[in-house]
Structure formats: C-alpha cells, structure tokens
C-alpha cells in the first residue's frame, strides 16, 4: 500500500512516498516557486520508484500553518488527487510534523517562523497538543522563548508520521488549509 505526502508549508518542498506506512522515497527541494515544481516532483518520485499514480491509495497533506500560497497549493493538489483517484485524504499540521520529530521528554513548544512572527504549537511530553495553535510577533516570541522550551528548525522524522495520532481524516470537498494568522480584512 502506497501513500503520498505533500509538504509545501515552507520554502522546502517535500514529497514523501510511503510503502506500508514506512518511508519508501523522499524528494526535497528548496525553491521559491512551489507552483512550478510541485506536480513535476510528484511525477519524479513516482517514476524514480516505479510506482504508478493509480497505485497510490492514500494522500496526506501538510495543511499549514506556513506559507499561505504554499499550503493552499499543497491542499489543492492533494484534494485533486483524492478526487480523481477516489482515495482517502488525510492532513497533518506543520507544527505536529515538528512535534513528532523531537525526542524531548518534557512539555515543549514548536515554533515555525514567518517574516513577521512565529506560529506556535504547545505539546506535552507525550506529544498531545495542549492548546490551540497561535501566531505571535517576533517581539512576543522573544519573551515567550525565554519561558518555554522551543523546538524549531529540526529535521523531520518522516517515519514517525504513522506512529503518533496526528493524521486527521479529511473530506476532499471540505479540507481547508490552516492559515492561523489573520489577514487584514479578518481583523
């Protein structure tokens, strides 16, 4: 059983192919244009691993928070694959992705930076989410970081994706990116 994961939340575009819930192939590319490379990278990894797109039985998308355009494109492509192949779609947040990649044995906060601030997720030692995600400014982050254990910029342990309860079942018509940060007209 193959599943395909799409991660476009940052300027590093990750496409991960799982076989029986274990990593079977990864393509990572730093790019300013997710739009240009997203579909070609999916094509590349499947060709490289000699897997046909129709053999994919599950699609997973990192639905944010992070680059608005990035996660929107990731979600769009993932749900289109889910629609066309009639296969289930699951989501995982970018913060959960980092949370499951640390071995820390204490309560901790995961931080993902954007130009004006940080997206924050707070987790217990057993990796359960303690409260809703938030977005804080660079200044607020300085104070916040002095009072909390911060996990950021760590490599992602893709094999842990299926080990914890972070994957969420989604419906391809209703899945939404996690934007978290408010835009001007929402304020």
């Amino acid at each position: 059983m193959y599943s395909l994961l799409i991660d476009t939340h940052s300027n590093i575009l990750n496409i991960v192919l799982f076989k029986n819930q274990k990593v079977f192939g990864i393509l990572s590319k730093e790019t300013p244009s997710q739009s240009k490379l997203l579909v070609p990278l999916i094509q590349n990894i499947l060709e490289e691993k000699k897997v046909k797109i129709k053999e994919i039985s599950q699609v997973i998308v990192v639905n944010g928070p992070g680059s608005f355009t990035g996660v929107r494109l990731g979600v769009t492509v993932a749900k289109t694959i889910s629609y066309c192949l009639n296969i289930p779609i699951k989501s995982i947040s970018s913060l959960d992705l980092l949370a499951l990649s640390t071995e820390i044995k204490d309560n901790y906060s995961v931080a993902i930076r954007d130009p004006k601030g940080y997206y924050i997720g707070e987790y217990s030692a057993t990796k359960s989410l303690l409260k809703e995600y938030s977005y804080i400014s660079n200044n607020e982050f300085l104070t916040y970081a002095s009072k909390n254990i911060i996990i950021k910029d760590i490599p992602i342990n893709w094999n842990n994706i299926y080990k914890f309860e972070f994957l969420k079942d989604e419906d391809q018509y209703n899945i939404k990116p996690l934007y978290i940060k408010k835009i001007e007209v929402e304020k």
């Binding site: 579909v39 929107r72 492509v77």
Partner: protein, 335 residues
C-alpha cells in the same frame, strides 16, 4: 469529423469556472462559482480571499461540470487553464489544479492567455472572421488589437493608466455605490442627462487610452459640489461620465476603421456587457459596414468556456505546456 473535448479552467480573478468545450465552439457544460457577494463586503476583490475561495471550491465546481455533461475526465482530449494575466494567488490554484489533472490522466496541458480567451469567447456564438479589430475592455484591461489570422495579434494601443472598467468601479465608489459599480453606473445613466461638464478625452492621435484624468475630474467635481453644499445628481453624473468614457473608445475605433479594412469589430471583456457602449460602437461601425460582435453576458464576463474556445487552436497546433509551467500575473497578448 472527430470531436475534441477540452476541459477548461479559469481562476484568474474572482470566478472559479470550469467548462467542457467541444471543438472550440460548443459548450457542453459550464459551472461558474462567483465570489462577488463575498468581495462586495470589502468594496473590491481581496486577492488572498479570492485565492482561498478558489482552493475551497475547485473540485466542487469540477464535479458539477462533469455531472452536467455526463462525461468523465478520461474522456477529455486536453486540459486547458488560464495561466495569466490576473491575480497571482488565484491563477496558481487553477494552474496547479490543471497540472494535477493533466498528470493523472496523461492529457496534454494547454496554457491559455486570459485576454485571448476573452477574444475567442466570440467563437462560441459567432465565428471570428479575419482580418478583424478587437477591443478588450474590462476591469484590468483596455486594449485595441488588429488580428490578421488565428493567434496573429498586432497591438494598436492600450490604456496608459486606469482600465476602463476600473474607472467605472472607482467612479461608482466616489458616488457611494456598492461594488461592482460598473453595471450600476450604466443603470443610473439611463435616468440621467448630460448635465455635468467633464473634460473631453485627449485625442493625441495614437491608439492609446487614458482614464485617470476623467476619473480625477469626477472626483474633483464631487468634492467641489460637496464643498458648496450641493447634492450630487448621481444619475446625471453617471450619464456624463459614461458618455465621456465611451467617447474615448469610439474615437480610437473610428481612427482604426479608417486605417484598417476589417470584417469585424470583436468586443471582449466585462465592460462589453455595457449596452450604451455597444450602441455607440454600432453607430461608428455602421459607417464602415463592419459588423460588431459582442458575446452574450455569460461569455463576456470571466468564464472557462472562453478558455476552452481559445485552447482549441493551440490543441490543433499541438502547442502544449510542460508540467513545470508557472502562472504569470502580468502577461501581454503578443507574448
């Protein structure tokens, strides 16, 4: 003759539209999800909101279109998509959606210029006959082109500042009218007279257009009247403004018809829905025995069927796009 079915996708602004077009002329099905009511709350299109709504609605719109046509994606001959010009975030959703479909079903991907789509919208109802003049009038564009054959364009002139549709929307805003203001100006003008003295368009002997001066003079007039405690007669101002705006177009068309011997004047873009403009253009063209063709409302505002119509020529010539194509928010018709 075998039939070619193209699935066409348009998301360049605030309409999520998908159509299936046969042989570039027959619309088998089209679904358009308009976001106007959402953006009306903000007084204009908010790009980030538009992009979000495209991403939310796109597979729903696809599904509805396939159901209406009773066709499957496997039965399409190609996937066509608007890749520019337009709002970048909105275009990106459509382009990546199209690339995914083209990849999964192994179909040719056709990248269509939105403006060429507007011109080819005419093919859905009234075949283009060359040589022709084409006038694109919308919220983002005011361009006059000469076409000698399929996809052979010569740009004669364009706006140096605001687009004509943009000036309608801005004047509507000054008058306190809701978004989108163009159609409301037209409606008000029907009840008005040429009471206000607005400057005549500059006739500089070129084919270029200019609308910011006219817009500013409306703004100044409204401010002046307010300062003198006078009530603005909205109907009259709408009339005077529309008259000048259309006059600007007619002067250029007149000049072009003097210079070029054409069979048709093809009007494209959202403002071509304006009946007053149509009437005035017909008056000008009558003298030259030139036919004015304007698509019906359904095909002159943003829609995917026109993209399918424009894609058909590219399909015949096998002009396909690669899967690494990107959207372009700025794109000229002659690129």
């Amino acid at each position: 003759m075998s039939s070619t079915k193209i699935l066409a996708i348009e998301t360049s602004c605030d309409e999520t539209s998908i159509a299936i077009v046969e042989n570039g002329t027959k619309v088998l099905a089209m679904t358009t999800n308009t976001q106007i009511s959402t953006h009306a709350k903000y007084g204009g299109v908010v790009p980030e909101v538009a992009s979000r709504m495209h991403a939310e609605n796109i597979t729903i719109v696809l599904n509805e279109t396939l159901e209406k046509a009773n066709l499957k994606l496997e039965e399409m001959d190609a996937i066509a998509v608007t890749y520019g010009p337009g709002l970048l975030g909105s275009l990106l959703v459509g382009v990546n959606f199209a690339k995914t479909l083209a990849y999964i079903y192994n179909k040719p991907l056709i990248a269509v210029n939105h403006l060429i789509g507007h011109i080819y919208a005419n093919n859905l109802e009234n075949k283009l006959e060359f040589p022709l003049l084409t006038l694109i009038v919308s919220g983002g564009h005011t361009e006059l082109l000469y076409m000698t054959d399929e996809y052979k364009f010569k740009l004669l002139g364009e706006t140096l500042d605001d687009a004509i549709g943009e000036s309608f929307d801005k004047v509507a805003k000054v008058l306190g009218l809701p978004y989108p203001g163009g159609p409301i100006i037209e409606k008000l003008a029907k009840e008005g007279n040429d009471f206000y003295k607005l400057p005549l368009p500059v006739n500089d002997g070129t084919y270029n257009f200019s609308y910011s001066g006219l817009k500013s003079s409306v703004l100044n007039l409204v401010n002046n009247e307010k300062m003198h405690g006078k009530e603005i007669r909205k109907e009259d101002l709408a009339y005077s403004f529309q008259k000048r705006a259309v006059e600007e177009v007619c002067i250029k068309i007149n000049k072009a018809l003097d210079e070029y011997n054409v069979k048709q004047l093809v009007v494209a873009g959202g403002v071509s829905a304006n009946k007053y403009l149509k009437e005035k253009l017909e008056d000008v063209c009558q003298k030259y025995n030139t036919e004015v063709t304007i698509p019906s409302i359904l095909y002159c505002t943003d829609n995917a069927a026109m993209i399918g119509a424009a894609a058909y020529y590219l399909y015949q010539k096998k002009i396909y796009a690669d899967l690494d194509i990107d959207a372009c928010s700025y794109l000229n018709i002659c690129d």
